[in-house]
Symmetry: C2
Subunit: 151 residues, 2 copies
DNA sequence: CAGAACGATTCACATATTGAATGGTTCACG
DNA sequence: CGTGAACCATTCAATATGTGAATCGTTCTG
């Protein structure tokens, strides 16, 4: 019953999350290549759908990246017509971002790609474990205050 | 019962693995700073303990990184006295890597740090979920042919 | 109204990693 | 056996990703 402790970090949950996560991200990046998007672009689009954006700074906080990176990602998404920047009239310092039709289309395609990836990843698991994994990861995402949908 | 499908990739297992994994890796990197190690160094040391090393090329394959990166990591670990390079006498092209006393010490410290991180990460989970998570991730690691201990 | 605080942007820089070129070593086979 | 193909390690230049500091316009506070 008592779990023997790991002899190397490889046996820990944290390390496995890191390795598996990096693997999935790499695969996801491949699938997104068709759409000419990177995972961070998708994260930004997702943030807009889930939370809306009071400002780019807020988006940066949600995504846990530097504000200067949001500028870059937003530049690229704007150039592709996926988002629009609108100066907040009540505070002209703020740039409000919002999804265009095209952005919605891209985000839906990216969502489908991620769902397909999930299928493949969890293929070796039985239904109960698949459900458990989804539930537990959501729990951890919320506990870590990460961007989470409230489905 | 039927799970509503996610509206954004953020709700998928793959995406959550990516984000949580990146977060844990970043935290782990912080903890390792004391030991003057990076997660990749630890991955290399772990590979040596778990599988031994026929050659650096083999280590690169296990770690899923370019051989040239193994050279660099091994240089740094060797300079710190954590590993030794030994030319395989039966095939003098191969560099065999092995842990020194110091390497073992570092690896043990790194393992303890990772275990501590696990504690914190899984604090919000009950015992059953903690066990389930560990079990499922191990399953996935094996299915994905990632470096795994056989505890 | 002056200056502190704030948001977006730009830019130089650090870091991590890869792929191609190089050199020494071994292997297969004519 | 000798020679070219294959192989491992290494070096090096190039690329990707991201950050922090400096700058500029805007807003807030006293």
């Amino acid at each position: 019953m008592a779990k023997r402790s790991a002899r190397t970090p490889v046996g820990t949950v944290s390390f496995r999350l890191g390795v598996l996560g990096a693997g999935q991200e790499a695969r996801y990046a491949e699938r997104l290549a068709d759409l000419e998007l990177k995972p961070k672009h998708v994260a930004l689009l997702s943030a807009l759908r889930i939370k809306g954006a009071e400002s780019q700074l807020e988006v940066a906080a949600v995504m846990r990246v530097a504000p200067s990176l949001v500028v870059l990602l937003a530049d690229q998404l704007e150039a592709r017509g996926a988002i629009e920047r609108v100066r907040d009239p009540s505070d002209r310092r703020r740039q409000r971002l919002h999804l265009t039709e095209e952005g919605v289309r891209l985000l839906d395609a990216a969502t489908a790609a991620a769902a397909a990836l999930d299928e493949e990843l969890t293929a070796p698991l039985d239904a109960a474990d698949r459900a458990a994994l989804a539930r537990i990861l959501e729990r951890l995402a919320i506990a870590n205050d990460l961007l989470a949908e409230d489905i």
